[in-house]
Amino acid sequence: MRNRSLGLTLLAVTALVVSACSNTGGGAASASAPAAANPCAGATAHSGGTHSFPTDKTKWKIGVSTDVGTVNDKNFNEYTFNGAKAGATALGAAEPPVVVPKDASELAKNIQGFVDQNFDIIVTAGFNNGQATNCAAHANPDIWFIGVDQGPPCVTPDGLPDSAFKCAGDAKTLLPKYVAISYQEDQPGYLAGMVAATMSKSGSIGAIGGITLCGPCVRYIQGFQLGAQKVNPNIKLFVSWVTTSDFTKAFNDPVTGKNFGAQFITTNKVDVLFQVAGKTGNGILDAACDAGIYGIGVDVDQALSYPNASKCTVTSAEKKLSLSVSTDIANIVAGTQKGGDDHWDAKRDGIGYSPFHDLESKVPATLKQQLDDALAQMKAGTLKTCPDKCGDISTLPK
């Protein structure tokens, strides 16, 4: 009996396969045209005509879709969420719900979830969300999207994400409500480098990145190198990466970070250490404290965000993730925000260095002035903070 029904199923499915194959065959005929497969197949428009934004600004619905990982990652996810929260609070709107994908296959679905629920502003965190956000923005040109670390957007003339990376389309006009945030990481890196070279007595300083495959990490450290050399052309810079193979170890494993940092310090005898490694970096700061040397934080003021290491965190190279998100939200509601590349650099106060806090007394009085001068030059656009091959790891010492 069961056997027979199995046979029937077999027949039915064979029929399905045959029809599917013929479908595919038909598809293939038309597929000879380039880029037949729409990379945005899953992204659909919300229901119910054109999206209308609430007139009462406390009624704005803001949602956050993070990158794979956790909300409290001391990184994109956390500060993006904090920024959205701050933006919502400023409006008097409800705290944004946050969706955390469990793996990469959920990224698009999470964004679509907010679209289907008629959210007004959807904030997505991290580079991995870039393609999905671009697609959703393309399908829903009447909803605002803020993509952190996704700029500048690279689109085809149709406004779809450009897999060939030719970037022939103009994102600003094609996707008028997609705000793709990017940061000039080499600028805060440069400032951090100046601090490191000033604070170093031995003339040896270090920088540790999470993984070589992280573009912003590379730019931070490239800036760091130039900044340090500006203060002390003879400075000896050691650069290392926690891992080449494991993203968890690179950004999510403070225990490994602490170990790695300790070994780095004892081997290279540095006395100032800059880390660009997320939560793994927290462990690196711990190692700096344990070794009695200075640590430099990244992204936010880590003397505050990671109090465990505040006693030795002399400053942090900040890119103001939360500020940029909350500012953009305010601008959107106010009607002044534009789509496209949303680049945050010194000119917009999108980057900076953190106060010295408890270590103020140890810092030479002249340093603050030098930093502010450098910041002013950055704003004026007269300071080169990244080598010509910006983002190319080969410029860094091995």
């Binding site: 396969v17 597929a31 990379p39 393609q131 897999s163 193979s245």
Partner: protein, 368 residues
């Protein structure tokens, strides 16, 4: 019929009760949280709505189900041969890698060529990752559980190295592969219903056919149920072990290929998967039977798919799905207790055709 579905159904219902309890209890331990006794209702109705609320939701559930069916078949097939494939995760990743590598190579070729070849590459990638533990088990008695766990970790490293290296798209500061182009699976239902759903159905039929209609399937089942009898009957348990693990790896690899070609279309080094461990739950809940696996995969696919809306509307973290999953398994495994509790007689637990999986942990080679 009741004897087959009673235990899974009771387990699922009890797990939902436990989940509700967790939702309520967690409000008690959180500082400053308000107690909302109806939160479980809100959460579960959002979950249901997210999974089956409308056509798109249902299609989304189907798309989430497809890799779980393939993964469940992988684990289930291995169970049938008395093997515990805890390495579906690594095989999934290698399958995804194989598919993306083939996909970007064939991105400009006609779909009719590119898709089958990319799928085949995915299958082979996973099969290679299943062949290793199968071989080591057969010739040296290395327990497949430990070997596959180790291979899961090695798979992570391989992905990062390859995506960050040879497959990396030039000109971008982040490690990301190009798009698979024409190798992408066509959408056959709604907006997200890729052809992987069809592939999963085909796989169910093929594996069901293989297991119950072919002589090889009979050998696989005999080796799993009674390896001594298999040897007596002139079968070759070693060959069957290697073959089954490779096939199981291939199925998990196909799951990875389906996700890459049907959903993501490209790969980054942080491409991970929940499907690997979900597959174990699917296979166990589905009693290692292909049709049972479809039902179990639908359940977990719906949970995974509906969880997004649960997180948006009820603000319940997705990890609740893991809790539900583990609790279902817990009740299923503790079935002697359930049977006593619910006075179920003659109800079968589902894994009774397979001998204790830890049996060969002591490192004996498969009998010749």
């Amino acid at each position: 019929m009741w004897s087959i579905v009673a235990l899974p159904l009771i387990s699922i219902l009890l797990a939902l009760v436990v989940g509700a309890f967790v939702i309520v209890a967690s409000q008690l331990v959180l500082p400053g949280a308000q107690l909302d006794l109806l939160l479980p209702v809100t959460a579960y109705s959002a979950l249901l709505q997210g999974a089956f609320g409308n056509f798109d939701a249902i299609v989304g559930t189907l798309a989430s189900t497809a890799p779980l069916v393939l993964g469940g078949l992988s684990v289930g097939l291995a169970f049938k041969a008395g093997l515990f494939n805890i390495g579906a995760r690594g095989q999934f990743l290698l399958g995804a890698l194989g598919a993306v590598a083939a996909g970007i190579t064939l991105a400009g070729s006609p779909s009719i060529v590119a898709i089958p070849l990319a799928l085949l590459a995915g299958f082979l990638g996973g099969a290679a990752w299943g062949f290793i533990p199968g071989l080591l088990k057969a010739v040296a008695g290395a327990h497949e559980v430990v070997v596959t766990i180790m291979l899961n970790y090695i798979a992570d490293g391989v992905i990062t190295a390859v995506v960050g290296g040879p497959l990396r798209q030039q000109g971008r500061s982040e490690a990301i592969t190009p798009d698979v182009g024409n190798a992408a699976l066509p959408i056959i239902i709604g907006s997200t219903g890729h052809a992987g759903i069809l592939l999963a159905i085909i796989a169910v039929v093929v594996i069901g056919w293989l297991l119950f209609r072919t002589t090889l399937g009979f050998e696989i089942r005999t080796v799993g149920a009674n390896p001594d009898a298999a040897r007596y009957a002139g079968m070759r348990p070693r060959v069957v072990t290697i073959l089954t693990m490779s096939l199981a790896g291939g199925l998990a690899g196909l799951a990875g290929a389906v996700v890459i070609l049907g959903v993501n279309h490209l790969m980054t080094p942080s491409f991970g998967t929940t499907a690997g461990f979900d597959s174990i739950a699917v296979a166990l809940l589905g009693r290692t039977n292909p049709l049972g696996i479809v039902a179990a995969a639908l359940l977990f696919g719906a949970l995974r798919s509906g969880a997004t809306l649960m997180e948006i509307l009820a603000r319940i973290p997705k990890e609740l799905i893991d809790v539900l999953q583990a609790t279902i398994l817990l009740f299923l495994v503790a079935n002697p207790v359930l049977q006593r509790l619910f006075r179920l007689r003659g109800v079968k637990s589902g894994l009774d055709t397979t001998e204790t999986l830890t049996k060969t942990y002591s490192g004996e080679a498969v009998v010749q």
